[in-house]
C-alpha cells in the first residue's frame, strides 16, 4: 500500500484521510503546523518564498520523516506562485534525499486526462470509476459538513456566555464527524454537530461586530498559520465571516462558477478589471460586498511577499475610503508574533466599536469630552 500524505489545511485533513483510506492508500497524517514544522520549512525553503510555501515545505519534511512516499497537492495555472509549488517542493525534497513523488492535481476542466491519470495513481486496488466517484462524493459531503460546522462556530462564539465553551464543543463534534463514514453517518454527524454548537449557552442581547475575512486561501484556511485569528476575534465579541471555504474554492475551480462569485467579480471590476492571480481580485471584491452588506470591518490576511495581495492592499486603501469600511491587513510570516497581533486586533475592534456605537451613546461621549 502506498503511503500517502497531503498538506494540512485547517480541519480538511479529516476528509482527505477518509478519501485516501477509502481508495486503498495508507495515510501518513500531516501534523498540525508547529514551531518544528516552521523550522524545517524555513531551513529548506527559499528565504522569500511565501509563508504557505514554508509551512508546506516543513509539513512535507515532517511527513517524509514519518515515511510518506506520495504527496498529493493541488496545482493551479497562475499567475500565483502556488501553481509552481509542487514541482519546486519536489526538487527540494529530492535534493534533500527523500525519495518522494508529488501528485499535483490541476483544475480538471483544463487537464481532464491528467486528472484521471492522477486519480488512478491513487487507486492501487483498481476500483471502478463508479466506486471512486462514490468515495469522492462522500468526501465532498464530509468537507461540506466540516465547513458548515465551522461557519456556525463563527456565529456562536462571539455570543457565548462561558468563554471558550464554543471551542470546546467544536473540538468534540469534529471527532464525531471524523468518525462518521457512510453517507448516512456523515449526515447524522453533521446535523448533531450543528445542534450541539447551537445549544451552547448564548447571550442573544449581546451587541456583536461583524467582520469579513479576506485574503490568500492558505493563511485563511489554516488556523495555525494565522495564529487562530477567528478564535481570537470571536473571543473579542466579533462575528467573523470568512470569504473563502475549501468547498467554495474547489467548486469555483472545478465546477461552474457560483452566483456569489460572479457578484464578487463584478464588485471588484471597477478596481481590478482582470484576474491578477492568487486571490487579489477576490479580496477587493469581497471587501466591496462586505461593505455593501453593512459589515463593520474587513481583515485581510496575506502571506508576506504575496504579490496579488500587495496589489489588492494598495487598492483596498481607496476601497476603504470610498465605502467607509475600515480594513486591517496582516502580512503573515514565521516572524509574526501572537502578542503583536492581538494588540492590533484589540485596537481594531475598539475602533470599529467606537465607529458603530458612538451615535447610540451621545451622553457618554459628551461626558468623556467634557472631562
Amino acid at each position: 500500500m502506498p503511503r500517502v500524505t497531503f498538506p494540512h489545511m485547517g480541519e480538511s485533513y479529516r476528509t482527505f484521510k477518509m478519501l485516501m483510506n477509502d481508495l486503498g492508500n495508507e495515510v501518513v497524517l500531516p501534523p498540525r503546523p508547529s514551531k518544528r514544522t516552521l523550522d524545517h520549512g524555513v531551513r529548506h525553503a527559499p528565504e522569500f518564498a511565501c509563508f504557505p510555501f514554508k509551512i508546506l515545505m516543513g509539513t512535507y519534511v515532517e511527513t517524509c520523516l514519518l515515511g510518506a512516499e506520495i504527496i498529493v497537492t493541488s496545482g493551479g495555472v497562475g499567475p500565483c506562485r502556488a501553481g509552481q509549488y509542487g514541482q519546486l517542493h519536489k526538487k527540494i525534497l529530492l535534493d534533500l534525499g527523500y525519495p518522494v513523488d508529488i501528485i499535483v492535481f490541476e483544475p480538471p476542466r483544463l487537464h481532464p486526462i491528467d486528472f484521471l491519470r492522477n486519480i488512478q495513481r491513487l487507486n492501487p486496488n483498481r476500483m471502478s470509476y463508479r466506486a471512486v466517484w462514490d468515495c469522492i462524493k462522500r468526501a465532498w459531503q464530509k468537507l461540506i459538513a466540516l465547513d458548515e460546522t465551522e461557519k456556525i462556530t463563527h456565529v456562536v462564539r462571539p455570543r457565548e456566555i462561558v468563554t471558550g465553551s464554543t471551542t470546546r464543543i467544536y473540538r468534540k463534534v469534529l471527532e464525531w464527524i471524523d468518525r462518521s463514514h457512510s453517507a448516512k453517518e456523515i449526515e447524522e454527524a453533521h446535523s448533531s454537530a450543528v445542534e450541539a454548537i447551537k445549544s451552547v449557552e448564548q447571550d442573544p442581547e449581546r451587541k456583536v461586530l461583524k467582520v469579513g475575512l479576506v485574503g490568500e486561501i492558505y493563511v485563511l484556511l489554516e488556523p495555525a498559520s494565522n495564529l487562530e485569528i477567528e478564535e481570537t476575534l470571536g473571543n473579542l465579541g466579533v462575528e467573523v465571516e470568512r470569504s473563502m471555504f475549501l468547498t467554495g474554492w474547489t467548486r469555483e475551480n472545478t465546477f461552474s462558477e457560483t452566483h456569489e462569485t460572479i457578484s464578487v467579480k463584478d464588485a471588484a471590476m471597477p478596481y481590478i478589471p482582470l484576474c491578477i492571480g492568487g486571490h487579489g481580485m477576490e479580496s477587493v471584491g469581497h471587501t466591496v460586498v462586505y461593505a455593501k452588506r453593512g459589515f463593520d470591518g474587513v481583515i485581510q490576511l496575506a502571506p508576506f511577499t504575496c504579490i496579488p495581495e500587495i496589489v489588492a492592499r494598495t487598492i483596498l486603501t481607496s476601497v476603504s475610503k470610498e465605502h467607509g469600511i475600515p480594513v486591517l491587513t496582516f502580512f503573515l510570516d514565521e516572524q509574526t508574533g501572537k502578542a503583536g497581533m492581538s494588540t492590533r486586533l484589540e485596537a481594531f475592534v475598539d475602533l470599529m466599536k467606537r465607529k458603530k456605537w458612538q451615535d447610540e451613546l451621545p451622553e457618554h461621549n459628551a461626558v468623556k469630552k467634557g472631562q
Binding site: 510555501f53 499567475p79 499535483v104 492571480g277 487579489g280 508576506f304
Partner: protein, 327 residues
C-alpha cells in the same frame, strides 16, 4: 500645443520603450520619460508605495510621481501576455490600478490591455485604441505602428549584437549620435548577469553592478543578449513552465548558459521581496549544483543596498572565478 505623454523609465521601459516612444512620437505626441533613477525617485517611491511591495514597484511609484506635474497623460499599458505562452508577473497586471488608487492627483492613465491571446491582431488593436483615443486617423496609426515595430526590431537586433538596453535605447532613438560605442569586449572573463531588465539595467538600484564588473575586467552579457529562439527551445527540466514572462526567460537563460558552458560565471541579481524570484533563485541554485563547473552567485539588492557589500561580493566572486581558471 501637443499633448505630453509620460512614460516612467522603469519596469517595462527597458523592453518596450523604443517601440512606445516611436509610436507615440509618430502620433505627434510629446513623449516624456522620467529619466534615469536617482535617490529622489527611490525616496519618493518608498514613501508612497506599500512597505511590503518589492523594490521595483516602489521605484515605479517614484518614477510616476516625478512625472505627475510634467505631463498630461501617463502611459502605463496593462501588459498581460506578448508571446502566447507566459504572462507578466501579477504586479504588471495590476500596475495601472495600483497607480490610480495608490497615488493622489494623477493625470489620466492610458491603460490599454495588451494580451496577444485575445486574437491574431490583438496587439495592433491595442495600439489602434491608443491612437484613436488621441484622435489619430487610421492611416496615421497604421504608419506609426509599422515604424514602432521597426524600432523594436532594430532595438532587439542591437541587443543581439551585445548592446545593453540603456545604450541600445539611445542608439535607436537618435540614429545620428555617433558617440555611443557598443559594449566592448576586452576583459578576460565572461560573466552572465541574469535578472529582470528593470533591476539589472537600472544603474541606481543595481548599485552600478555592470560598471563594477567591467572595472574588474569582466565582460557582461545579460538576458537580452541571448538569442530568443534558442531560449524558447531550452529545456528547463520542469514539469510546468514558469508562468511569468521574465522569470521564465531568466530560468531558460540560466539553463542555456549552464548547459552550453559559454560563460565563466553566472550572477543572479534579484530584488528583495520579489515573489517569483524566490522560486527562480532556488531552481537556479539546484541547477548550479548539477553544473558545478560554472560558479554561481545570487545577489539580493534592496532600497538600502550598500555599495560596499555589493563590491565585496563581486570582488570575491571574480577572485574565485579567476583562481579557479588559473588552476
Amino acid at each position: 500645443m501637443t499633448a505630453r505623454v509620460g512614460i516612467p523609465s522603469s519596469l517595462l521601459y527597458y523592453m518596450h520603450y523604443p517601440m512606445w516612444h516611436t509610436f507615440l512620437t509618430e502620433l505627434n505626441l510629446d513623449v516624456v520619460p522620467s529619466g534615469q533613477t536617482n535617490k529622489n525617485f527611490l525616496d519618493q517611491g518608498v514613501k508612497e508605495a506599500l512597505a511590503d511591495a518589492c523594490v521595483p514597484v516602489k521605484l515605479f511609484f517614484g518614477h510616476t510621481l516625478t512625472l505627475r506635474d510634467k505631463v498630461d497623460y501617463l502611459f502605463i499599458p496593462r501588459v498581460v501576455c506578448l508571446n502566447q505562452k507566459t504572462i507578466y508577473c501579477p504586479k504588471f497586471l495590476g500596475l495601472p490600478d495600483m497607480i490610480r488608487y495608490g497615488l493622489p492627483d494623477m493625470p489620466p492613465i492610458i491603460d490599454i490591455q495588451m494580451d496577444v491571446r485575445e486574437g491574431r491582431m490583438a496587439l495592433f488593436r491595442a495600439y489602434n485604441q491608443i491612437g484613436s483615443s488621441f484622435g489619430a486617423g487610421s492611416l496615421q496609426i497604421a504608419r506609426a505602428y509599422l515604424k514602432a515595430l521597426y524600432s523594436a526590431a532594430r532595438y532587439n537586433a542591437l541587443m543581439q549584437k551585445g548592446w545593453h538596453p540603456p545604450e541600445a535605447i539611445k542608439a535607436v532613438l537618435n540614429p545620428n549620435s555617433k558617440d555611443i560605442a557598443p559594449t566592448a569586449r576586452k576583459g578576460d572573463l565572461n560573466f552572465a548577469v541574469l535578472g529582470y531588465p528593470y533591476v539589472v539595467h537600472d544603474d541606481y538600484i543595481s548599485v552600478g553592478l555592470i560598471g563594477k564588473l567591467k572595472k574588474l575586467g569582466v565582460n557582461v552579457i545579460t538576458l537580452e543578449n541571448l538569442p530568443p529562439a534558442t531560449l524558447a527551445r531550452q529545456n528547463c527540466d520542469l514539469d510546468k513552465i514558469m508562468f511569468w514572462t521574465y522569470s521564465d526567460l531568466v530560468l531558460r537563460a540560466s539553463h542555456y548558459l549552464f548547459k552550453s558552458g559559454q560563460v565563466d560565471g553566472i550572477i543572479h541579481l534579484t530584488a528583495f521581496g520579489c515573489g517569483p524570484d524566490s522560486m527562480v533563485d532556488k531552481l537556479m541554485e539546484l541547477t548550479a549544483k548539477e553544473y558545478s563547473n560554472i560558479p554561481y552567485m545570487s545577489l539580493t539588492i534592496d532600497e538600502h543596498s550598500g555599495d560596499a557589500g555589493v563590491s565585496t561580493r563581486l570582488e570575491a566572486f571574480t577572485d574565485m572565478v579567476k583562481r579557479k581558471k588559473e588552476v
